[in-house]
């Protein structure tokens, strides 16, 4: 039980630590840099293993994070040279760093205790066995300390530069003019993303860091337009997804990181479908209501056009609406029902007549059209 609780605590801390910078990445349309960085840090981690035999000291963690920043610098260099566009530059650099790392691991499988599968896929289940001890006292799992430290750094960066980040995210030009140094913020953010990837890699693995960074903010984005709320919602969704995913994985005996990513994906799919304003269902309902409304306008305009004219007996027949306006029978019935209910038309001897309210609506609609 203790182990489960510790794993849940680590998962929650890592989830929040990922979701915060992830929100900025999503807003700045740099979501895929998280994927590239999370692959690139493998090289840093492997080199750190060569140098120190593990990821124990904070210095080594920083060193590993540096390889993520190196990736960003290389991409920027390629883009500056104008020989390759940004998407291709990203796609060129991270596979190289990743390949070098994989080759190094394979060449030295004897001397290096590092499993590429574990780096990519994560092994949260083993996290409670790696304890941090000081003077013989057990301080809890190391992963929890590392995660908390990174979360604190992310929170500090956000707290200190909130205004600057907000401005440079939504109006980079203005931020530069005002002297907010968007470049420094950019590199600061990406350095933190690298660091977070390193911290998260043994919990969820480097590929699924991407799920924790991107899916919660993209989901939250469908629910709110306020930046503060976006951060809070992203963090909450990430924690919920991580915990639920862990529960599912334990219950069904599945890969933990994969199950977390799947749950986060489900969150996104459900929100995409059913979000109150921006969901697919809501947008479809809105589109239908607008179509019906416009059809109602057309109906009263049509009646107004032929009101009192010799053709009225033909044009105002209920059945005629279908033919003339090309509506399906159900649609026509629906539009007519709306108009009758709103008291804009009445029906007499199979003919439709405008009521004064209907006439007003037709005249108003004509002006609009």
């Amino acid at each position: 039980m203790q182990a489960h609780l510790e794993i849940l605590a680590i998962a929650a801390v890592i989830a929040v630590a990922c979701a915060l910078p992830g929100t900025l990445l999503v807003l700045r349309r740099m979501a895929l840099l998280s994927d590239a960085i999370s692959h690139s840090i493998l090289l840093g981690i492997v080199l750190a293993f060569f140098a120190q035999g593990g990821l124990d000291s904070p210095l080594v963690i920083l060193g590993a994070a540096a390889s993520g920043v190196l990736m960003v610098v290389l991409v920027e260099f390629l883009v500056r040279s104008r020989l390759v566009r940004e998407d291709a530059a990203i796609g060129l650099v991270f596979p190289v760093l990743f390949s070098i790392a994989v080759i190094l691991v394979s060449r030295h499988t004897g001397s290096i205790h590092l499993d590429v599968d574990a780096v990519l896929l994560g092994e949260l289940a083993f996290a409670p066995f790696d304890r941090l001890e000081a003077g013989g006292a057990d301080l809890g799992p190391r992963g929890l300390w590392i995660g908390t430290g990174i979360l604190a750094l992310n929170l500090a960066f956000l707290g200190l530069c909130y205004k600057e980040l907000k401005l440079s995210t939504f109006d980079a030009g203005l931020a530069a003019v005002l002297g907010f140094m968007p470049g420094v913020l950019h590199y600061g953010l990406l350095s933190l993303v690298s660091l977070t990837c390193v911290g998260a890699f043994d919990a969820v693995g480097s590929i699924l860091v991407v799920a924790l960074m991107i899916a919660p903010p993209a989901t939250a984005r469908l629910l709110t337009e306020r930046l503060g709320l976006l951060f809070a919602l992203s963090a909450a969704l990430a924690v919920a997804g991580a915990l639920l995913g862990y529960g599912l994985a334990v219950f069904l005996d599945l890969n933990i990181a994969g199950s977390m990513a799947t749950v986060l994906g489900l969150f996104f799919a459900l929100t995409w479908l059913a979000a109150p304003r921006e969901g697919w269902l809501a947008r479809r309902a809105l589109r239908r209501a607008q179509t019906r409304r416009l059809a109602g306008d057309l109906l009263v305009i049509h009646l107004l056009q032929h009101e009192g004219s010799p053709t009225e007996r033909r044009e105002a027949r209920v059945i005629h609406m279908q033919e003339h306006l090309g509506w399906s029978p159900e649609f026509a019935r629906g539009v007519l029902a709306d108009a009758l209910e709103e008291g804009h038309v009445t029906r007499m001897d199979g003919l439709l007549h405008l009521k004064p309210e209907g006439r007003q609506r037709a005249e108003k609609a004509l002006v609009h059209i």
Binding site: V26, R29, M30, A31, L32, S34, D35, H39, L78, S81, L83, V84, R85, D87, A88, I90, G91, L92, P95, V96, F98, S99, I100, V102, I103, S106, T109, V116, D117, L120, L121, I207, L208, V210, A211, M213, I214, A215, P217, A218, R221, L222, A249, L252, D253, L254, N255, A257, G258, S259, M260, A261, T262, L264, G265, F268, W272, E278, W280, R283
Partner: protein
Amino acid sequence: MSSFLQDYTLRMVLGGVLALGIFSGALGSFAVLRRQSLLGDALSHAALPGIVLAFLLSGSRATGVLLLGAAIAGWLGTLAIRAMVRGRLTREDSALGIVLSVFFGLGLVLLTWAQRLPGAGKAGLDKFLFGQAATLVRSDVLLMCAIALPSLLLLVLFWKELKLLTFDAAYARALGLPVERVEALLTLLLVLAIVIGLQTVGVVLMSAMLIAPAAAARQWTDRLSRMVALAALAGALSGAGGVLLSSSAPRWPTGPAIVLCASLLVVASLLFAPHRGILWSWLRFRRNRRRLDEDLVLYHMLQMAQHHAGRLDHPHARRVIQSMTPRADVRPVLHSLEQAGWVRRREGDSWSLTSDGAERALSHRAERERPPS
């Protein structure tokens, strides 16, 4: 070399990577030009659950079945991305990131599920993560060719449409081209290219096989047909190079070795390609700067000469010329002007214009002082 080619495994692996390199290079050109390089990355990750599901549903580990699953999952991935991007709040980068990570996560979940089935083992499936070229057998290579050749034929048949879509989609639409369908064809071909690479380089590195050969080829030409051909060549070369590298030393995984070779080709192309390459631009920059300095020095010498009663061959001390041209060291400039016959060295370290040089300076001055049109 001949004993090398008699090795069955090696021959199969070589055949497989050549088919893969040629096809992914050709298709990757379109992806790179359409700025969809990272679509390949997302789709190759998205193929994983398809592979595992195909195994779970059919119980078969035949490559054809698994790759069919991969293709279907990849296609579903493109549909998911398109649906997401259609709403206005999810941008393309987020959509790609979500499809990549969530599909991959689902694949891992299914993989752990499949591994628990009696007799399943993991050997058959996890080779798709990083690829295991050594497991290629004759039927696999034939299957890869059977996918690649008709796809290349489609590429040739619809060449004009694909070209138009790549460079001017709006114009293609205005001409009445069924843009959506051509786009779907291109995406389908991309998915197929990914599918035939999964067994060799794996889902994680497949995107590099699409991007790197195309990015290398782009540096050498501005023509689409040449770019596609060069990219196919680069793909084949890096495939062969990677196989040679990994067979020459123990424990060199083939997939990463191929990616490394392709990346070396990219670096070489970025540096040395004529016209576009970094070395080329640097040389051009230097040449232009030298020419500018020469004109500047001639101009200044003409200005000074005219202060001396218009005697164009009046000598000027080098220090004076230098003080008028603070941007550059005038010594090498004067020497190259002397070689061109435009200036002449006089007694001490002083210089004067020759008649040719004066003529050139005058014509340049006329150009310089002409009011802008």
